[in-house]
């Protein structure tokens, strides 16, 4: 019973096959049981060193990756651009090559430029895991979102998933669309017209700017944050107005004929895209997503590392 991923790097969900995703899920199931044991650690990656290179801020993703690495017994080095030579004018390739000269086997990278990990993968030998590249992809987030849906509803295939909010600036949205479609789910996006990319319809997703329509249609709602830090012009008049038209609240959910599962990749802006009573309700699996994030990232790192190095 041997199986391997079809790719040496996790650059995006786009480059994965459905069976890759299923293999990651099945491996993550076993790691989830490992992290619920008294001893939450296995020695698999004890001869591997992983560099977490974060050119953009992150709390949860970085913490989750670091925990995953430590629970696999890997050696971990961390790097954030805030206090580094990047500020002194070093190129990305030079920075990473310097780190790799210190014998690092895998690189987990977040970067503000879309395609940065793809660029690196052409020049370096280490396995690369994309931890978010600009507004492009955030593959491990999509994997943990779909893993959490699978855990809650039994299967992803055949489910209807609505992605609500700032689609234009969201790497989570794009990765989720790819992952959900590969697993056989239907996707609808919902947000202000200004925050929906022009050619998104080409991906075969339904598009609406009516939150009621999206909620009535879906089994699962994945609520995204408004990424003000990436918005350099006004896309909507005010947060208050956004919240009135696109915020998820208890009244909206009470109108539905069935309960829906609520996801949020965090960080939550309570009272903007989601109200507290919804975020803290039984139908929200936001904290399960965080727990599953560690197991899914363990699975990704484990499977990438297991590809034989000669």
């Amino acid at each position: 019973m041997s199986q391997a991923l079809s790719v040496p790097h996790l650059l995006g969900i786009k480059s994965l096959t459905e069976s890759d995703i299923q293999l990651i899920f099945e491996t993550a199931d076993e790691f989830k049981s490992v992290i619920n044991r008294p001893i939450k650690k296995v020695p698999s990656l004890r001869d591997i060193t992983i560099a977490n290179i974060f050119f953009e801020n992150s709390t949860r993703t970085k913490l989750s990756f670091e925990l995953a690495e430590k629970r696999l017994s890997a050696d971990v080095v961390n790097f954030s651009s805030g206090n580094s030579s990047v500020k002194k004018g070093e190129t990305l390739l030079d920075t990473v090559n310097n780190i790799l000269s210190m014998k690092v086997d895998m690189v987990v990278m977040r970067h503000s430029s879309p395609g940065a990990p793809h660029f690196l993968s052409r020049y370096i030998d280490a396995n690369i895991v994309n931890a978010g590249d600009g507004t492009h992809e955030h593959p491990t987030q999509a994997l943990l979102d779909t893993f959490s849906i699978r855990e809650k509803l039994g299967d992803v295939s055949g489910k209807k998933v609505a992605i609500l909010g700032d689609i234009l600036h969201s790497r989570v949205a794009l990765s989720n669309i790819f992952a959900l479609q590969k697993l056989g789910a239907e996707v609808m996006v919902c947000g202000p017209n200004t925050l929906i990319p022009k050619y998104l319809g080409n991906l075969g997703v339904k598009i609406t700017s009516n939150i009621r329509e999206a909620l009535h249609w879906c089994d699962v709602a994945n609520v995204l944050r408004i990424q003000l830090e990436r918005q350099h012009i006004k896309f909507f008049p005010s947060l208050r107005e956004y919240s009135m038209h696109f915020g998820l609240n208890k009244q909206l959910l009470a109108e539905l004929d069935k309960p829906i599962t609520i996801l949020h990749p965090g960080p939550i802006n309570r009272g903007v895209e989601i109200t507290s009573d919804v975020a803290d309700s039984d139908h929200a699996i936001i904290l399960d997503q965080v727990e599953n994030g560690v197991a899914v990232r363990m699975a990704v790192l484990y499977l990438l590392a297991s590809i034989r190095q000669n």
Binding site: M1, Q3, A4, E30, P43, S44, I48, L303, S306, I307
Partner: protein, 182 residues
């Protein structure tokens, strides 16, 4: 590919009975003893042993499943990675007499990883090893079984294949296969 049968259904049943009797001799009344089958095929063998013990004792001896994939020492050294299986140990191992069960003992490396994996669940009072087929003189590590179904003298170029009915085989059979003629 030439293959030779080492044990098949009827003889195998006799061997399982003998091993179960041996266990009864040392572990009766099984107050503190548990069976731990190693994934994937050791689990089938362990449940046969558990069934036989139930016939003899009239009660079920606790049976767990142990997967050692994450503890192997050949990670990144194999051509193809191994897929992980479920570990399911529905009882504490602390101070238990553990009977570790696997179908074939060859280099001893899997058993080494199993000992590591087991320690993560607690500190057993005693660990014994029950093996169906012992490929003698081929150990890489100083590991020897406590109970053996059959000793077999093999070459490195040969492989022992165990087929269980539970896996979909027509009947239980254990084969010795010559690899280079494949």
């Amino acid at each position: 590919m030439s293959k030779r049968s080492l044990l098949h259904s009827r003889l195998l049943d006799i061997t399982v009975s003998r091993l179960a009797q041996q266990l009864v001799e040392y572990h009766y009344p099984f107050e503190n003893s548990v069976l731990l089958g190693m994934q994937p095929r050791g689990v089938f063998f362990a449940s046969r042993i558990a069934d036989k013990l139930e016939e003899i004792l009239g009660h079920r001896v606790p049976l767990g499943k142990l997967d050692v994939t994450f503890y192997r020492d050949d990670f990144r050294r194999r051509i193809k990675p191994i897929k992980a299986n479920t570990t399911e140990i529905p009882f504490p191992l602390e101070n238990k007499r553990v009977i570790l069960v696997d179908d074939v003992l060859y280099t001893g490396r899997t058993v080494r990883s199993a000992l590591d994996a087991m320690i993560d669940f607690g500190r057993p009072a005693k660990v014994e090893l029950l093996i169906l087929i012992d490929r003698v003189y081929s150990r890489d590590l100083p590991i020897e079984p406590t109970y053996v179904g059959k000793h077999v003298n093999t070459l490195d170029s040969q492989r022992v294949l165990v087929e269980w009915k539970e896996q979909g085989a027509k009947e239980d059979n254990i084969w010795l296969i010559n690899k280079e003629e494949a």
